[in-house]
């Protein structure tokens, strides 16, 4: 029997409450926080994907978004600011059967973890990455973040930010992500569908998840109303075409700065092989799960003395 029998186990019942911890710690998010929207959408998406908590691993950074791990029941790794992606990448490489989801905030994902974001997208690891984007540092009490609008005033930018915010969608596409979407906490139906698609996608799926911060970012109210880019005749573009997607992203990001919110799927490449597949195809990754091998009594373990005889004597 497999040492990881939870993986692909069809017997376990999966319903709306499957990912809700039996003893739910009291949420420490503020009333009205957009993070509740991410949690809810994720809890709804997972059963539809057909994954169980025991075969799912959620890696978070720190800050408000990091607390997702306390309210979502599965294998969790609550790591450090900006580092969820490298941890998630390696876990997926070690055991490809796991459903690996990484999550973090906009400071976490586009600031301190920006380098990992670029390279994870570039390598197209088969993981889902949810960025809680509320355009503010929340848990450290309201400082300007990489997505805060230009001119945004905060305790650390008293004269208003002189910086243009980052363009997460454009950055993601340019770096090589094979699925890029933006959704919003105030749009639960779309959010669930987008997360489901992202999780099912074979490759790096990046979801920029707009969340409101009612405490530190009053502008968050501007996330309503939003427009679904797929439902709008003005934006008739092919989401499998990089150039058309790039134009749509650029437009959506510019309009967000002006207060208009465009969400939906922006790019979906189903052709590009995931990183693990690429690695396997050149013989640099095993076909089977590395993790499984340690529990397999029949596994063969090479002995280095043969190598030493061959190359060093």
């Amino acid at each position: 029997m497999s040492a990881f029998s939870a993986i692909n186990d069809e017997e376990q019942e999966i319903d709306q409450d499957t990912f809700t911890p039996g003893i739910e710690p009291q949420a420490t998010w503020c009333p009205g926080c957009g993070d509740f929207g991410v949690l809810k959408a994720l809890k709804q998406a997972m059963p539809e994907v057909g994954r169980t908590p025991d075969e799912t691993m959620l890696v978070t950074g720190i800050g408000c978004s990091g607390k997702l791990n306390s309210y979502f029941d599965c294998y969790g790794y609550h790591s450090i600011h900006g580092r969820s992606l490298p941890i998630a990448r390696a876990a997926k490489l070690a055991n490809p059967g796991l459903e690996v989801i990484a999550a973090g905030g906009d400071g976490d994902g586009y600031g301190i973890g920006g380098n990992h974001f670029m390279h994870t997208a570039r390598e197209n690891h088969d993981i889902t990455y949810i960025v809680f984007n509320n355009e503010i540092f929340g848990l450290t009490k309201g400082q300007t973040s990489p997505t805060s609008p230009k001119g945004h005033k905060s305790k650390t930018q008293p004269s208003g930010s002189a910086k243009d915010p980052v363009r997460p969608l454009t950055l993601s596409l340019a770096s090589g992500a094979s699925y890029v979407a933006r959704t919003a906490a105030v749009n639960p139906r779309q959010a669930k569908e987008v997360l489901k698609e992202a999780i099912e996608h074979d490759g790096f799926a990046h979801v920029d998840f707009l969340t409101q911060c009612p405490t530190w970012n009053k502008d968050a109210k501007e996330y309503v109303p939003y427009t679904d880019i797929q439902d709008d005749d003005e934006f008739d573009f092919d989401i499998t075409d990089r150039r058309e997607a790039a134009d749509a992203m650029y437009e959506a990001e510019s309009r967000l700065w002006e207060g208009e919110v465009l969400t939906g799927r922006f790019y979906h490449d189903t052709e590009r092989p995931s990183y693990a597949e690429e690695k396997r195809s050149i013989g640099e990754a095993p076909e089977d799960s590395l993790a499984e091998r340690y529990f397999d009594d029949d596994a063969e373990w090479g002995k280095s003395v043969e190598e030493i005889r061959q190359h060093h004597t």
Binding site: Y75, A90, Y294, V305
Partner: protein, 633 residues
Amino acid sequence: MTQDTIAWRVSGGSGDGIDSTSRNYAKALMRSGLNIYTHRHYPSRIRGGHTYVEIRAGDEPVQSRGAGFDFLLCLGDSFARSEQEGAIYGNEELKPLTEQFDELHEGGIIVYDTGQFDEDDIAETELEERAEENNWHVYPVDLRGIAQEHGRAVMRNTAGLGVTAALLDQDVDMIEELIEENMSGDMRDANLEVLHSAYERALEFDESHDLVAPEGSHDEEHALLTGSDGIAYGALDAGCRFISGYPMTPWTDVFRIMSQKLPKYGGIAEQVEDEIASATLALGASHAGVKAMSGSAGGGFALMTEALGLAEMTETPVVYVEAMRAGPSTGLPTKTEQGDLEHVLYSSQGDSCRVVFAPANAEEAYEQSRQAFELAYDYHLPALVVYDQKLEGELRSVPVSHFDQEPAPDLGSTLTEEELRDAAHDASGKFERFQHSVEGAKEGVSPRSIPGQKGGRFLASGNESAPTGHISEDPVNRKNQMDRRLRKLTAIRGELDDGETNQTTAGPEDAEYGILTWGSTQDTVLEAVDQLNEEGHSVKAMGVSDLMPYPEAEVTEFLESVEECLVVEMNASAQFRGLTQKELGRFGDKMSSLLKYNGEPFRHNEIVEAFKDSIDGGQPAAQNVKFVPAAGD
């Protein structure tokens, strides 16, 4: 002249094949039954510049490079002589020759390439006068010409080996054999022609020297390995199947070896965007159930320290390698130092809960790398293997039988799904991964589950957590968890004390004086202690490998037994002596330090001389070492 050991040095420019040439020759000497030690000197640049490799060979085991050398094969700096580059490197043209003069023994041999050096330039070096003064035997040979005649100019290093074999009365077949093994096709044929032609030509010399290679006699099969090889092979045999890294000298060596070997063993190697990623990838792989390692040199390790703390808090097993070079900051990129000791012991926030080993040589590197994996996975903490540029580059001959050990792919304190069924879970079905104590488990250890196992889900958090893994700021829980994590170190110390010791001792038990050292300096100290005792002094030595948890009992016993103790290490602030005083809380008045931090490792004769100076209460005569505190303080 017969001698116990011979030290042969090949010098030239970086990129001239100095490394491969010396490796071949070292192997040939080893196969002839000799014990080998090599020292590599190279500048921080890709091509050009003065570089050399020294091979010391002897019938008895050789533990260090010794003092000075006997035979110089000077290939010259090809890059310096290129017309295009001449302007830049011209002033370094003669370095491969002149830089060697100070250390060449009296009666030594010099072979230089007349195809590379201009006779007028040679005259400027006053080679003739100096040779006369020191009774050197100089053999100018047109190595470049021979190489070009049968192949290409670059093969002049092969010509140099042919001349060496002839001058040292060696069988040229042993070099021929290695060329045949390592090359193929036209390249091999051309090199063989160059080798034989040079050998024949050198046989015609009217030899004036009486230096010959010593006779070797070991009957066991030996392998030529660096400290990096030791660490990498130890990791492989410990069941390590994942490595992540970012290149940085001298860590790159372990990373390179593992990257080349791992796919063959069914593992995965990842070169990633930075050391932060590299350190955290290893945690992700380990958490998901694979034995994983990462590492860097001091500068990169600085970036890895947040992951080190995360590993301690989440109790994620991992092995990190720290390859020291001279610091601070980028320091001397290709020079050695033992200056990162405090960095590896205490970096990252909070109280350190890690294992740190500093192996002394390739054999210890293999053993302690295996041990690092074993302890990391049994006790769920990061284990570090610390070594330095010296150990990274030095080739040693080691009996192959030493490495003939069974692989140990055990994941340590990890539960199976059957065991998980009986383990503690909270009311919501979450596995209590971080219980304050678990019956039957190793002291302080709360066994883990692996993602994907049924009934094992838990949260690993960088925040302090309750037994389920959920974040907790409860003061009682906090104290219990901290105590439990620290109890592991006590248990590990006990386990290490019960096993075969990692500390190496030498010299008479009842010796009056002691020399204490750590890591790669150990074997040089051992050679110095041998010599001191032969000269009638009463000295013993201890080389310490366990840095955390510290081998309190062993070092206490050692220090109690001596009148005075010299602590020898390669840094400027006596970090290991400081550690010893901190851990033992006494012996402050018994210990003084001999320090070297100019980028070069100690030579055994420097330690011999300094020891004599120190017992006389004087100052070290050598300029490049110092005593702390100075005598009389």
